[in-house]
Symmetry: C2
Subunit: 453 residues, 2 copies
């Protein structure tokens, strides 16, 4: 039995939904279909979720929201026309959206969540209607009725553990189950959404709850690539990688799948298959618990910009019990989360994402570190990029670091920072943002395109 | 003006003290002579400080301490005979030790400190007497009278900042000043010792207080070596290195000079010269603020055993503000100080010195991390060695990491951990203890003995 999730672009038009239908019925193991809200049909198009957010915000600020609500309905009715569905479904969707827009606005965040969730909810109803029209047994499933319970955190709901057992009974239902992604219900029966792109999470939760054999995640790429195609042309596709490898890659810019989405499948040991709705014959990429290491030590190279470091030095820092903890407490008080803390003997650097900083913070933080920890030196460095070289095969492979650092040296890239050791499946290099592209290209060259001379 | 400090082996016998005398009078700039307690004359010999500690402990447990006190006096009287000093000095030393042993024992730690400090104090008196016998103007200086004030921490006293100004007036005194190392006086007038080998600290404090041009530290080696001579035969001597380089090297096993001893000299920018009492013609090693980087990127390689790591992993750890800080707080509650914290995306390792652990701690710590932080995995790894590759020249030298990791790969050494980035003057490699020697040899080969092929 398989749980199959389709992304927004896979469901953006009637034509796309017909492809989805063919994919689903071509494999009788495909039982549960998780549906996103309609996405973009062309690059300049707007996603229904974005329209809904704007609509909700206009309501809250008492601006005119009619026009934008109409354009949401227009998206659904265009699709319904393309699929030659009876107009009843559109009346239903319109009534639902109106009811939500006229609902309680006393808690703005919860109001927004209810509006946002309608994108997936109504699209699941539409898709179910289409499947039924094709003469297939299929039914829309309401997440609340099915038992998908979540925490009452608007825009960041977390699945509650009891959901899994409740959802398991969906196995007993006959026919295809069309399940809206992105949201669940609190114990009090209110709608709360996951973080953005949360339909991936819904699929993973269902795969876990129903103890599926496979979670198929259909998107618009043939596979996960070994490196960013904007940096290296026609990069190698990854056929199989582990959850840990996927997580390390996604940390630094590989955004094929939502980070949190891997957790439920991972905990249940269910493999995840990334596939392309527009090219279902392509094998795609499989995410598994363990894999053979037959293709060299490195499986992928990811990179991300927008980091900065705070360097703190103090003679004999090393002797002070609690120095690091106190330093991290100061950052915590500013609400800053940090990424890494490489340390020397009497110095430590804290690597953070730059977008967390507000204007005055840098000076305030420096002041507090000097005043409270009597540091000799506090120095900010901006515009850093982190590069992750990922692969289970590099565990206990003695030459990988040598090859990586040599490749960077050859490309005249200065390594600002290395973090290796904790994770056995990755090496991390910090470089200046201006060196990022050259560094990634040099590493790809070394591990994927190197020819023995 | 120079402050000159002599170690215990440089003052272990009459013959050695004659060498010291020749060294001191050969340079009229040598004004202040800091004296250690008599050290070992041959490998099986006992240091006077060790005898004194045993003597004090016997007193405290009401055991017979006569014999061991006699052997302390015997060491001084042997030296006095070799130097043909009048017996008066030995009577004085004997009376002093007896008075200390019969002193207040209500605070055992302070009692031990007073006994320990007598080793240096009495030897300074003996050395001063010998200098005077040779017809040189020289006088013993009592640290309390001279104004060397320290905190009231037995065995770990810290200099108080007001000492420096007080000590400065020693410049006005005529003749050579013979100053006992290792201890100072609290504001209440009680004796407190520095940590072990603390005579180095006394010398550095005096160099700072008197604003000396140079602090000469005489010991029993010709120079600081670029690598441990027990691991690599006849290693290169280091002619000049910076304070930071010395500190990084001494962290991992280079014990020529007491760590804390560099601080006062460093703060005053006074160079430190390491020299050999038994070969004063050898140029020795100079520790300076800044140096030319003319001899390649690496100046020395140090290593030390006895480390362990605690590996903690938790899926999406990276998203939790405060995770690292909470983890460090738990270790702090166990009184553990940590060395480094390399981290991956969802995992972190804490590197600690193994000797801090008591039997049950490992299990208790694991239990608390699992219970309080809901970690997925907590794993201890023992018997690790840290290797420091040190050199100011490696800053912004793009190829150094490549050379180092390649050398380790060639020697089939698996790198368990790398920490580079915070300190700009060192790279740290963690390896298994069994690989330590091979790793250091391979790195030395690469950076000091490599022949271009």
């Amino acid at each position: 039995m398989k749980v199959v999730k389709f992304g927004g672009s896979s469901l953006a038009s009637g034509n796309q939904i017909e492809k989805v239908f063919q994919i689903v019925i071509s494999d009788p193991d495909r039982k549960v279909v998780v549906v996103s809200a309609p996405g973009k049909r062309f690059p300049e198009d707007q996603k229904v979720t974005d329209l809904l957010i704007e609509c909700a915000e206009r309501c809250l600020s008492n601006q005119n929201s009619q026009e934008i609500a109409a354009s949401v309905i227009k998206r659904y009715s265009t699709i319904a026309e393309e699929l030659q569905l009876p107009s009843k479904i559109i009346s239903e969707i319109q009534a639902d959206l109106e009811a939500r827009l006229n609902g309680d606005r006393s808690n703005p965040e919860r109001f927004i969540d209810r509006i946002k969730a309608s994108g997936e909810d109504n699209h699941a109803k539409l898709v179910a209607a289409f499947f039924e029209e094709q003469g297939v047994e299929a039914s829309y499933v309401n997440p609340g009725e099915a038992g998908l319970l979540v925490s009452a955190e608007p825009g960041n709901a977390q699945v509650l553990p009891e959901s899994y057992e409740r959802l398991h009974s969906l196995r007993e239902r006959s026919g295809l189950l069309i399940f809206p992604g992105f949201f669940g219900f609190s114990k009090e029966g209110e709608v709360f959404t996951f973080s953005r792109s949360g339909s991936d999470i819904t699929g993973s939760i269902l795969a876990n709850g129903l103890k599926a054999d496979l979670y198929e995640n259909f998107t618009d790429v043939d596979a996960v690539y070994s490196v960013n195609p904007y940096i290296v042309k026609r990069p190698k596709e990854i056929k199989e990688l582990t959850y840990r490898e996927m997580r390390e890659l996604s940390y630094a810019g590989f955004t094929v799948l939502h980070d949190e989405a891997l957790v439920p499948a991972f905990r249940a040991g269910i493999p995840v298959q990334i596939k392309n709705t527009n090219n279902p014959a392509a094998p795609g990429t499989r995410i598994v618990y363990e894999r053979d290491n037959t293709n060299g030590p490195v499986i992928g190279i990811a990179s991300d910009q927008g980091f900065c470091s705070i360097y703190v030095s103090k003679y004999l820092m090393n002797r002070e019990i609690g120095f690091g903890r106190k330093l991290l407490s100061i950052l915590e008080e500013f609400g800053l989360s940090y990424e890494h803390t490489p340390s020397g003997i009497d110095d430590i650097s804290i690597i953070l994402r730059e977008n967390q900083f507000e204007a005055e913070m840098e000076q305030e933080i420096t002041g507090r570190i000097v005043a409270e920890l009597h540091a000799d030196e506090v120095k900010f460095e901006h515009s850093l990029a982190l590069i992750m070289v990922v692969g289970e095969g590099m565990r206990h492979n003695v030459g990988t670091m040598a090859r990586a650092s040599k490749a960077l040296a050859r490309a005249s890239v200065n390594i600002e920072m290395i973090n290796q050791g904790s994770s056995e499946v990755s090496m991390m290099f910090g470089v200046k943002e201006v060196d990022e592209k050259r560094a990634v290209q040099a590493l790809y060259e070394e591990f994927f395109a190197a020819v023995t001379v």
